[in-house]
Amino acid sequence: MRNLRHRPHRVAGAIAVLTVIAVYALAVPMLTGTNPGLTDFAAAYQPPSGSHRFGTDLAGRDLFVRTAAGLRVSLVIAAVCAVASAAVGVAVGVTAGALGGWIDRSVMRLVDGINALPHLLLGIVVVALYPGNLVAIIASIALTHWTQVARIARAEVRAARSATYLEAARLSGATRTRIAITHLVPAAAGQGIVAVILLLPHAIWHESTLSFLGLGLPPDQASLGTLLQDARAAMLTGAWWTLLFPAAALIVTTLAVAVVGAAVDHRITPPLPERAIR
């Protein structure tokens, strides 16, 4: 990664892009009043025009509205997944780091084991066994992504263990649980926030890929994945707009989130020697 501290304009640009995306995803389905599921078979596969800015899909649904609705669904699912996996990761990491001993060792072995598996394939297996279940989709993403957070949170806690303020808390008679909640969790919280942002693009990818493969959300529910699944059939007829706009929304969103995430990471994490290389 480039040294983002020297590129504030890039971060500002990314934040501006994210704002536009958020406004688009939230406001368009509300303001236009068009139902994103409204079909009009007479207007199927219309190229982009004044009345349909992004064109229409196979059922004549307006893609400007439907992309916004899909983006909203994907973003909400991704946010829930990212928060859930960061919460699990911080909880597990703090517990392992604070307790140490055999608990720590076996938790880290579990982390190694899960990291050894391809995450998406693990997700596919979970979703296959619980088909069409939104909780399963979220769980399949959250359960495979907490491990990186746990590793970082554990490292933070182990570094903080010898700090004098912990010694003071211990001497003043605070219990281990109290120390963990009031001192160790806050120590790992910064990394938790970074993890949420860095996990967001990942979670968007996962949800859209699962839905695209027909293993995630039902096809009539607009999400970036289901829209792109529709595009797969549509592009053979030459309807490029069904692919272009949802794909662009997906790529631009993940890129902008990644840039902001890297900037926040840079702020919170002290620079390593490697990072100083330009």
Partner: protein, 351 residues
């Protein structure tokens, strides 16, 4: 590296130096062998744990293995008949007993039968495995070669215009999921330009001849290469930059050693270490990419059949593929660590 050179120059007794080197080398070889054995043994408990978790997950899910076995007949068969079939198949046993019997059969080479392909699972693996190997092997080789060329160049010419262009392109491509890349490639090169076929291993009804397969391989392999390339390239660029500033390389340049020798003998061995690790780490993602690319391009490989198995709840195939994937990933990370240990003498045998 230059330490070894000074040793040879300063020590008068070359013979002693050589025996020391060979002894060290033998010790390293033994360490590396021990690491391989330890990692291979680790696969046994991991296999047991992963398959146990899979069976537990299946037992807790709404998935009825009988429905998976019977398919459409599940709806028409009477309850008494279903009960009989379930008993025959051992499906009414507790899940851990089913797991034990699955393991017992798997050890003898019987992985059950796949409903979605109407074949024994072992036949599915044998027929489809080579195509996945061909696709992902081609893509991995191409990605490594391209990353070496572009990453090295970019790393050796920091802040040049081409370096910036390479890094920016790689960063953007990193944000494109493989399935979007596949759809884009099909739209542009197969549908619009009609340069290459849309999908499949051959044209409909044609024999899988060399020409046919090659023509159909280009697009999926290219997509897989492009999805893998940015990670490898950016990492190599970074490690080449770091190695170029290391004492060994600065010292070698200061001694007036010709630039090609500096790059080949002093810079590359150090920079390639992290690169092999990144290749090992990206192998799971290569498999994921292969699954998506095979699915989109109807490539008759194993990775794509994982998606089929999941969609059609083909549990025996799903179980075999999950375990197979786990092994592949373990083998990949072991190979990467071995390569790293062989390239860089400073690396301990088990990092």
């Amino acid at each position: 590296m230059d330490a070894a050179m000074t040793t040879i120059v300063t020590r008068p007794a070359t013979a002693t130096a050589q025996t020391t080197t060979s002894r060290t080398r033998r010790r390293r070889g033994r360490g590396i062998a021990r690491m391989s054995v330890r990692r291979a043994l680790f696969a046994i408990p991991l296999t047991a744990a992963v398959s146990l978790a899979l069976f537990a997950l299946a037992a807790g899910s709404p998935f009825d293995p009988l429905a998976g076995y019977l398919g459409d007949r599940y709806l028409t068969m009477s309850t008494a008949d279903k009960q009989r079939v379930a008993t025959e198949l051992g499906l009414d046993a507790p899940w851990w007993q089913q797991w034990a019997s699955w393991i017992g059969h798997a050890v003898t080479g019987d992985l059950g039968s796949s409903r979605s392909y109407a074949q024994p699972v072992t036949t599915v693996l044998a027929e489809r495995g080579p195509w996945t190997l061909l696709l992902s092997g081609t893509a991995l080789a191409a990605a490594i070669v391209l990353a070496l060329v572009a990453g090295m160049w970019a790393g050796l010419h920091p802040q040049s215009r081409l370096d910036r262009a390479i890094a920016a392109t790689a960063t953007v491509v990193q944000a494109v999921p493989p399935f979007v890349l596949s759809l884009g490639a099909v739209t542009v090169f197969a549908v619009s330009l009609r340069w290459l076929p849309v999908a499949g291993l051959t044209d409909p009804g044609a024999d899988p001849s060399f020409g046919q397969v090659t023509r159909h391989l280009v697009l999926p392999a290219a997509v897989l290469t492009v999805s893998l390339l940015p990670w490898l390239l950016l990492s190599l660029r970074q490690s080449v930059r770091a190695a170029a500033q290391s004492d060994a390389v600065v010292g070698a340049r200061a001694r007036g050693i010709p630039e090609p020798v500096v790059v080949g003998r002093h810079l590359l061995p150090v920079a390639l270490g992290p690169f092999t690790t990144v290749i090992g780490l990206r192998l799971p993602e290569l498999l994921v990419g292969a699954a998506i690319v095979e699915e989109v391009f109807s490539w008759p490989g194993l990775a794509g059949s994982l998606v089929t198995a999941a969609r059609e709840l083909d549990f025996p195939l799903l179980a075999a593929l999950t375990i197979g994937t786990t092994w592949l990933v373990l083998a990949g990370s072991l190979l990467a660590d071995l390569a790293h240990a062989l390239l860089d003498p400073r690396v301990a045998d088990d990092a």
